[in-house]
């Protein structure tokens, strides 16, 4: 019983990291058909945001609230990754709709640039840049309708970008002068330390669970519920689903597909940022941290069936539990006196890397029987 609980918890813990990472991808890939290889790097940005937030909360003014920095950083990461995602959509991905392979290559280029960016630009100025992006993209939308419709709107827009740039430079230099750790560029990995209330373990039914893992599960749970509610209950969620089903028809009915694209991509990228917070709690944060997750995320989405959140949830927990079963060699402890050849095979695969080999092989075999995943999209297209 204890063993089962242990295995289940570990599996759910692994699966929830996968799920929160794959959730954004499921939205971007499933709803828009965009292959975003920079998704891992958006996660990395989220993880770095957590790190920066942590350091800023150590400043004397914010010191009393230090314990709550992790909550704040979830929102900040969502915003930072979301804004970078929106910028990406506005500049590159918009030109490539309908040609997924090209998108794949372009976003890979973006991921290289983002990786090198955090290596060679001091984080303080990176933060300044992001702040100016946020202001520049959102300030024009807050203007009153009268200004928006006037001929001089482009000058207003231009001046808001100048304001944004100035604010960005100022905040960047303020941060860099007050937090010395952020003022130099470094390629070294950084560590996020969990606040004191998240350290240690909780006992549930006689077994000890680390609190950070529980926190990740909670973050995942909240993200899944929030995104399901958003897609199914809100007006924009309905528009997103409409555009997914039939783009031309939705456009004819007056839905601004351009806005829908931006919102969908922004939310997907923002969720990557939230995943970054979860990842930063698990280990040290480096420029390559996203690359470890990206293929796993794609496997989750493909296995779950594209455009289906329930499938994504099931697939990630399935993969998580299988990883734990195989990687820790748990079958051996459940059934200690199995025949030698089987136990040898199980031992052979009982490491993290070999478990990955086994899982991917199993997924490929599974796709032989259900090529479109657990919950395929129904349609009558020749392509399907």
């Amino acid at each position: 019983m204890e063993l089962l609980l242990d295995s289940l918890f570990n599996g759910v813990a692994i699966g929830s990291v996968l799920l929160v990472a794959a959730l954004g991808l499921a939205i971007v890939f499933g709803l828009m058909g965009v292959i975003n290889l920079a998704h891992g790097e958006l996660m990395m940005l989220g993880a770095y945001t957590t790190y920066v937030t942590q350091l800023i909360f150590k400043l004397p003014i914010l010191k009393p609230f230090y314990n709550s920095y992790i909550i704040v950083s979830i929102f900040l990461s969502f915003i930072v990754s979301g804004v970078v995602g929106i910028l990406l959509e506005k500049t590159i991905i918009r030109k490539l709709y309908g040609s997924p392979l090209e998108t794949l290559l372009a976003t890979w280029g973006v991921s290289l640039i983002l990786q090198q960016f955090v290596r060679s630009v001091p984080l303080a100025y990176g933060t300044g840049l992001v702040i100016s992006l946020i202001i520049g993209l959102f300030l024009p939308t807050t203007f009153s309708l009268k200004i928006k419709e006037s001929i001089n709107f482009k000058y207003f827009k231009f001046s808001s970008w100048i304001f944004a740039a100035l604010t960005g430079v100022m905040s960047g230099s303020i941060i860099s002068s007050s937090v010395s750790k952020l003022s130099r560029a470094s390629a070294r990995n950084v560590d996020v330390t969990a606040p004191s209330w998240m350290r240690g373990q909780v006992e549930i039914i006689g077994t000890a669970f680390p609190k950070t893992r529980l926190m990740i599960i909670i973050i995942t749970l909240i993200s899944v519920i929030a995104i399901t509610l958003f897609l199914n209950q809100s007006a924009w969620g309905m528009r997103i689903r409409a555009v997914t089903q039939n783009r031309q028809m939705s456009e004819c009915l007056g839905i601004s597909t351009e806005k829908v694209d931006i919102i969908t991509f922004g939310i997907g990228s923002g969720l990557a940022g939230v995943a970054g917070v979860a990842v930063s709690l698990l280990g040290s944060v480096g420029p390559n941290v996203g690359g470890n997750y990206i293929v796993g995320c794609f496997m989750v989405v493909v296995l779950g069936g594209v455009g289906n959140l329930l499938g994504t949830v099931l697939a990630s927990f399935g993969i998580g539990i299988m990883t734990d079963l195989i990687g820790a060699g748990r079958l051996l402890s459940i059934w200690p006196d199995m025949p030698l050849p089987i136990s040898n095979t199980i031992n052979f695969f009982a490491t993290t890397s070999m478990a990955r080999v086994m899982i991917f092989a199993l997924i490929v075999i599974f796709l032989q029987f259900k090529p479109t995943g657990l919950f395929p999209q129904k349609g009558r297209m020749v392509e399907n």
Binding site: E102, L104, A106, G109, Q115, M299, V302, P371
Partner: protein, 376 residues
């Protein structure tokens, strides 16, 4: 994709070949050893780029897993070299086995004692594995992006397997070849390296002609048909699965040859050949050079790698920015690649913009002089 191709005079073609062959023969004396070795390596990479061009440029299958076949070819060559220079080590097995306490040669090493087996294994094993993976994927009509993701996943499977198996193939350390013996001489020595350079050059040209032969005629037309509209090919009575499997295993075999040549010239094969970035880089060589143009793949592989080594020597941090920018630029601005742009309408458009060439108002085939451009 534009079908306009510039036809050259026979004399020009002949003199081009004479100059090329003269350059290949003279290269070892003209270039310093270090640069020659780099050039040889990059030429061997252009063979894998040819394979990528065959499957992506002509058939529309974007494989992100060519690193598997590349590394397999490299491992085959390295295993033969290791095993044949292990006579002075204990148990007559390669030195690294002693580190992990292995005394008996693992069974799959045995056939690599034979040079003939190795010669065939280098290209047949990758081709067979590519054929198997391809068949399983294509049979289910998995295509487009899903194919790319699956090949990437298989790449990770192979990477994790080779990376984790210390006792079988030296895991993450890889197999070294430069201190092994071939024909009684060190593989890393200058004379052997010169031979490898010539061998590579010959094989690049051979692979180029082979690829040209593959995409010519009916077979090539079907490949292009699959790229442009696969359901229509199927409805006309062809089975795309067979053609896709064949071309995918051809690309795998080319990758194997390329990997073996690269390994003996770089001196080591390791699971690093199976990392995700390396396989994606192969695609970008082709994309920059011009997909659907075989020469573009070769030139793209050689020039980008040369640029990479030059830039990394001067400004190590900036290469990632340049590479990333190149990806984005090529995809958004030059989807046909540089050579495709030159062969297509690119130069004409620029000349038109400056008023140096007459603007085309109807169709190019009607207005352009047939002597200058041969429209197919």
């Amino acid at each position: 994709m534009s079908q306009n191709k510039i036809k050259f005079d026979k004399k020009i073609v002949l003199s081009f070949w004479i100059i090329l062959i003269a350059l290949i023969i003279a290269a070892p004396t003209l270039l310093p050893v270090f640069r020659l070795n780099l050039l040889g390596r990059y030429l061997s990479l252009s063979i894998v780029a040819l394979g990528v061009d065959l499957i992506w440029g002509y058939t529309g299958l974007l494989s992100l897993g060519q690193g598997i076949f590349f590394a397999l070819g490299g491992y085959c060559a390295a295993m033969y070299l290791q095993i044949n220079s292990s006579s002075e080590f204990p148990n007559n097995i390669p030195e690294f086995f002693a580190l992990y306490g292995v005394e008996k040669l693992p069974f799959f090493w045995e056939p690599f004692k034979s040079p003939y087996f190795t010669f065939f294994a280098i290209w047949i094993i990758p081709a067979l594995i590519a054929g198997l993976i391809g068949f399983l994927v294509f049979r289910n009509r998995i295509k487009g992006v899903y194919f790319s993701i699956l090949t990437q996943a298989s790449l990770l499977v192979f990477f994790n397997f080779f990376n984790g198996q210390q006792k079988l193939i030296n895991g993450t350390n890889g197999l070294k070849t430069d201190v092994t013996l071939l024909f009684g001489q060190m593989v890393g020595s200058e004379s052997i390296q010169r031979l490898f350079f010539w061998l590579t050059s010959i094989l690049v040209i051979a692979a180029w002609f082979f690829a040209k032969w593959v995409v010519k005629g009916r077979f090539g037309n079907i490949l292009i048909g699959i790229r442009d509209d696969e359901p229509r090919v199927r409805f006309t009575g062809y089975n795309p699965v067979i053609f896709k499997t064949i071309i995918f295993s051809i690309a795998g075999g080319l990758a194997g040859i390329s990997g073996a040549l690269y390994t003996v010239q770089s001196g080591i094969v390791s699971p690093q050949f199976m990392t995700v970035p390396f396989s994606i880089e192969m695609v970008i060589w082709v994309a920059v050079g011009g997909r659907g143009t075989l020469l573009g793949a070769i030139l793209g592989a050689v020039f980008i790698n040369y640029a990479k080594s030059l830039v990394s020597e001067a400004l190590p941090a900036s290469w990632m920015f340049i590479q990333g920018g190149l990806f984005i630029l090529v995809v958004t601005a030059l989807p046909e690649g540089v050579l495709g742009w030159i062969q297509g309408d690119g130069p004409r458009n620029i000349l038109q913009r400056f008023g140096l060439k007459r603007k085309i108002e109807t169709y190019p085939s009607l207005e352009i002089n047939n002597k200058e451009q041969n429209h197919e």
